[in-house]
Symmetry: D3
Subunit: 182 residues, 6 copies
């Protein structure tokens, strides 16, 4: 029955999706019936902070969860554009997603905004921020170090397929990441 | 292998999801490996043309496809906001979705825009526009006629659960669907 | 003490402010301690539906309430831009205004949105829509009929001072109220 | 010397550029030193009212003025997006264009807005609205009548080259000119 | 008579309202009949630079001016959203506010923009930037120092009532003040 | 014949236009028939990075190219607003400009985006970035050094005529280039 299920929200930028994200998702799915995965900053791509499009990140998540044998009917993957107006953000998330009752997040602002809106907010206990961080993955990509062990293997394959490392390296040569030359 | 699959795009507003949509999806999934379902006009809700939020429409699609035993790993459901600038729309869709090679649509503008962008566009043969149309479903909802036979039964249950008929009827009493009183 | 006061919200477009608005405000101020007057569609002006700027409408409200001897410390006048995304509207109003506990409105969509957000919504009993309506005032302005008896006298003076009737008449000559000539 | 020249503004949508526009431009260039041609509603295309992109319209204007032997150093062609907020429109035009002192327009709202901003606004005397109108050109395109005599011959050639008639005819088949199928 | 009054504009972000703002307002009200208080960056909140919503800032201003016995009929409090396009800002302010003839500001860009638009711009002589600065108030709030002496006492009470210090402290724990977790 | 010409795109911010830009344009015009000059970040002005409006920059380009005896019928000057969403930028440029076949750019992100969209992208060989850079011109303007030798002489005259140096110097006194005072 629809109304008996318990649904959680988990929002990330997934730039790129890594093993820490997978661990967090496994943890949350052990607590709830279904999960809404919000792909944040969805409109951005081709910057050092946000190299991949929302569509590419959706693809990574699906590949990783298939690889991890997570049943696709237990989760939704929803791109969510930044509105940059914090007072509207919870309403925007709510209008784009199936109903959820609990929010999993370690990010203080996300926690504050959802708590002020009356949601139950829970921490993600063993999401190891330093070992598996997207910032670290991107740093290794830029500097030519081994980044593949930090992400699921299908994600690594996919990033190679779309020539993602070349894109990131081109971005680092752009002085100011503006699209206009001086 | 990732690169051998063939993916189609099918965009609709799904206000609400009805049996014609289900037929169209079955048809498309008989032709391709996976399907990106774009939920158009995603930012709109609470109008007579767009009564349901994108999140509610995502929920309807999932319920209907579960009811129809469609494997959830074969499709993506992606909300897509209208940009109202037709020359940007194909790029916007492309940035929010996994890669697709073919577009299924009977809508002339959608067909024109994707064809101008170099996509293969195919018609949906037995999508019966007059029998199963969202306009007709909404008309029946407003006028108190039997709308339930036109939608999958889990969708009908869900619309009742969220009190959707009351919302639509309230909208008809609004003179001009502006949020401001005179 | 701040927390004991009871504050109401009343949103209108006030195009222009008329005696029906004054009646509604008097009614509401007889029920609550203070009142937030939201000036809706604040970004629009120079159209037949919205001839006056938000600033001109703020001025009319202040003039009318001074004329009616309403204590200026009992109300706030807040311009509120339309977001055109109904699911964000309540959050937008809430972020721009002092806290309010009750919403006075006869407009079905406004009532629906605030009720869905958990607010108490009350009707405005003797706000006579047909006698004093902004549509009727604008119609008379366009057709050269007597509109002054429908608005407070300081508002009539102000509209003359800013040459408002000439502006509205010029707007009617514009075919399609677009700013571009063919 | 820069400061002695007299520059005029003339804004149109040019959907498409026709012989009436050419007449108007010749008239204005007989009165001033140089001319800023604003291409209004620049962001729109692929609709029945705005079938051509701004870039296509810029091309038409250049072709027509070359055909009419108008010296290209006497005019600027500047796309201007609609802001839909009339109170900001004059400032927007001003920020995108070289300085101008006089505005040529027969459109009442354009005249009102520039006059309120302190500009000299002049009428265009022999711009024959009924004979040469873009609405009439588009109507003939849709209905398969002879539209070519109403536009400069290089413009007619260009429209054929970009397959413009096929685009307009496809647009008429779209029920509601929304990019989303029901 | 309406037209004999002299009105000034004073724009600030009031994050939060402090005693320096009160001094500035008293100074201006000694020079003019009425005052438009523009609450800048109105759409922002829940950031370290802009912790409070526009509505909370409107409330602070009203409380402080009541506490200072300033007659509420002498001023307007108008939230003004940033457009981030400097060439449009003066027009935007003008459309949202009652007519003003003089602008009080010490901020060089504000002074430049209003002077280029033809306004008289006056400095605020004894607005002591270092003693009473909103940056300093927020710094003390974050670091747990005494901030209350820098603001009117009703403002201090109000900030406590809405639990403002907890909100600011939560914001400092957010790495990058983005709403999305990595 | 229209279809035989070869057109290039060259996008810059031209803040301000300098002799390096002129060199680049001469180089490109020696390779192609006509040139689309995109004036990037068109909506911005009155900041240290973008002191001049798009209209002022259009004027500079025209003056410089007239001074350099470049035939005005060989180029277009098109203001292009930043969309800040990289995945939409190529489509936006394409919709605002006449058709072009080749893009000249040394900027890595511009090169990446146009190459991903299937365009031929060529480098600009003797565009000396350090000698003639807009950043260097602005630095000299701010610090009162000789900047005039870096720009065409008509551009230097024009900047003086519009009092550009005073504007830039005022901008440097603004703490944070926000339009709001604290």
């Amino acid at each position: 029955m629809v109304c008996l299920t318990r649904t959680a929200l988990y929002v990330g930028r997934f730039q790129p999706f890594h093993l820490g994200h997978l661990e967090a998702i496994s943890h949350i799915l052990s607590k709830v019936d279904s999960l809404v995965l919000g792909v944040g900053s969805a409109q951005y791509s081709h910057t050092l902070e946000n190299p991949f499009t929302a569509g590419e990140r959706v693809t990574m998540i699906r590949l990783a969860l298939n690889e991890g044998s997570v049943d696709a009917s237990r989760y939704y993957i929803i791109p969510i554009e930044d509105v940059n107006i914090h007072s509207l953000w919870v309403s925007q998330v709510r209008s784009l997603t199936p109903r959820f009752e609990v929010v999993f997040s370690n990010e203080p602002l996300t926690r504050t905004l959802f708590r002020e809106a009356g949601y139950v907010v829970e921490a993600i206990p063993f999401f190891s921020r330093t070992e598996y961080s997207a910032t670290e993955v991107r740093r290794r990509m830029v500097e030519g170090e081994k980044w593949e062990p930090l992400v699921p293997s299908t994600v690594a394959e996919y990033i190679e397929e779309i020539d993602g490392i070349a894109r990131i390296k081109a971005l680092t040569k752009s002085d100011k990441l503006s699209v206009q030359a001086e």
